[in-house]
């Protein structure tokens, strides 16, 4: 049984649906990458899973729980976590307070997890008293990832984690994502750097107009001439 299974999900913000039957299945060990043209419903899919928009039909099952239309304060304790693309840090809070907010739903001692995050991103420990708004783009992305990991999720969802970052940081963020996955956290992410992301994806989903076009492992999709031609720019 997959960790999360999104089945024939239709949904949107109230008007015409943006998702017209999306299917996604991820195992605990997977890195899933959603790619596709602008407006294909990639980010919308993540938001639908995280209860940020209305799912009208279809089901989303996470570890046996039906979670369609559940709100984040129910989902985070279940083991889901989400890093939005923009405005993903609390700019006026210190780095450490940002991380603490990620653990808001936890009632146990969080110092161990905090240390793990600082080991993964040593620069954050250095700057832990500084307001997150004063950090560079790459460091902010680390804070955002760290915040999402503080709840000890089983599934980490990231919306374009590489957006707006310099190539050096893109590589670094991808390396961190792989590290997190090796530590036992399933990943589901949306990426514009499709070729680069699919290269390390164990599951790839090509969406277009709110529907799945192709599904397979990352390398398979890259090798598929039709995917390459229509969606990866030749």
């Amino acid at each position: 049984m997959p960790l999360i299974e999104v089945k024939d999900v239709v949904g949107g913000y109230g008007g015409a649906p943006i998702l017209n039957g999306v299917n996604i299945a991820i195992e605990q060990s997977d890195i899933g990458v959603i790619v596709g043209p602008n407006g294909a419903g990639k980010s919308t899919t993540l938001k639908a899973i995280f209860g940020l928009l209305k799912v009208t039909t279809g089901s989303i099952v996470f570890e046996g729980h039906e979670i369609a239309n559940s709100l984040p304060d129910k989902l985070v304790p279940l083991g889901l976590s989400f890093v939005p693309q923009e405005k993903n840090v609390f700019t006026s809070l210190s780095v450490e307070e940002n991380l603490e907010m990620g653990a808001f739903t936890r009632r146990d001692d969080i110092t161990g997890t905090l240390e793990e995050i600082y080991t993964m991103f040593p620069v954050l420990k250095e700057k832990r008293r500084q307001p997150a708004g004063e950090l560079s783009g790459g460091q902010r992305q680390m804070v955002a990832m760290g915040r999402a990991l503080m709840s000890k999720p089983r599934l980490l969802m990231l919306d374009e984690p590489s957006a707006g970052l310099s190539p050096r940081y893109v590589l670094e963020i991808f390396e961190h994502i792989v590290t997190v996955n090796k530590a036992g956290v399933a990943i589901l992410m949306v990426e514009q750097n499709a070729r680069q992301a699919l290269a390390f994806a164990s599951r790839g989903f090509v969406l277009s107009q709110g529907q799945n076009r192709f599904t397979g492992s990352g390398p398979e999709l890259i090798a598929d001439p039709e995917v390459a031609k229509s969606f990866l720019g030749g």
Partner: protein, 334 residues
């Protein structure tokens, strides 16, 4: 020295008192703006309502002949706070929450809060009429403290017991609030939600609970400010409605959503208003003997007449908005 004492009595003490009231009111207004993103116009009437709750409970004690060494208004304040919190939560549940649920825009909520203002003022007038009341009309004395300054001159430094307690209570409340916001889980969540409500929701923060907590804090502080104001002047149905505009000016000058900004803004405006109506002629009068006779010091040299005290706040507000549009502490702009 007499002149300095006069200045302390007229400006330093009065400014501190007014500043404390403005600061406590502005903290509540700024917190509500930070979390709920609208200007809560009924905040002044929440202060008045809190004062009337304190007054009613105090009357009960007076009725049974209970008098304490410190003014009853301060003793019963925690009880009145609870009642005010109850009313605030009730108003939120019945008026603002349904509007929020339908995705009402801030301006709709603002208009709704004007409705709440009229409703609360009407209810208060229904029960208490339009007259004035004082906590000290029922046998409790208002202790006046005079600091002997005979070593320096003939005038003593004069203030009342409620004024001293007012400053102490303000400091204590601000310290508690500061601890809450910087050291507790829900306090940090409140700052997080004011900073970025969407991300707070995504982090799994119970935003409904944060909203309720915001009302609890704002109402408690409003009750304290209203009660202390009514202990200093007198209690009437438009007690705090008259100062809601400078309170918002203080919140905006400090930077909307910024608690420390609201405190700074409150004291800044409190002192500015007091200085604005201060009659500088009293200080300059001794120069009259020295200056050539063709310079006559007029009897009234205050910057603005007392009735126009509020204009001082608005002048400062306009200057601040021109110089730093988001306030001294860089608050929210929308």
């Amino acid at each position: 020295m007499d002149i300095l004492v006069f200045f302390i009595n007229k400006v330093v003490i009065a400014g501190t008192v007014l500043g404390s009231i403005y600061a406590l009111g502005a903290i509540g207004a700024t917190l509500i703006f930070g979390i709920l993103r609208f200007a809560h116009f009924a905040h002044g009437d929440m202060m008045t309502l809190g004062a009337f709750f304190s007054f009613l409970i105090a009357l009960l004690f007076y009725h049974y002949g209970i008098f304490l060494p410190i003014p009853m208004g301060f003793v019963v304040m925690p009880l009145a706070m609870l009642l005010t919190i109850g009313v605030a939560l009730g108003i939120d549940k019945t008026i603002y929450a349904p509007l929020r649920k339908r995705g009402a825009r801030p301006v709709t909520l603002l208009i709704a809060s004007i409705g709440a203002t009229l409703m609360m003022q009407g209810l208060i007038r229904l029960f208490f009429g339009t007259g004035q009341y004082s906590f000290f009309d029922y046998g409790e004395p208002k202790t006046i403290i005079k600091l002997d300054m005979s070593w320096a001159g003939s005038r003593p430094i004069t203030f009342t017991e409620p004024q001293v307690l007012m400053v102490i209570v303000t400091v204590v409340l601000v310290l508690i609030l500061n601890y809450f916001l910087t050291a507790t889980r829900f306090g940090k969540a409140m700052r997080a939600m004011a900073d970025n409500a969407d991300l707070a929701q995504v982090s799994g923060i119970n935003t409904q609970l944060v909203v309720r907590l915001t009302w609890v804090i704002a109402a408690a502080l409003a009750c304290a400010a209203g009660t202390m104001l009514s202990l200093d002047v007198s209690l009437k149905p438009d007690l705090a409605f008259n100062i809601i505009l400078p309170i918002f000016a203080a919140a905006i000058v400090g930077g909307l959503g910024q608690v420390y900004g609201a405190i700074a803004g409150g004291f800044l405006l409190g002192f500015a208003e007091t200085l604005g109506v201060f009659n500088w002629a009293t200080i300059l009068r001794p120069l009259g003997n020295v200056l050539p006779s063709w310079i006559v010091i007029p009897p009234d040299l205050s910057l603005v007449p007392t009735e126009y005290k509020l204009t001082v706040s608005f002048v400062i507000l306009v200057i601040t908005l021109l110089w730093r549009p988001t306030g001294i502490f860089k608050g929210a702009s929308t």
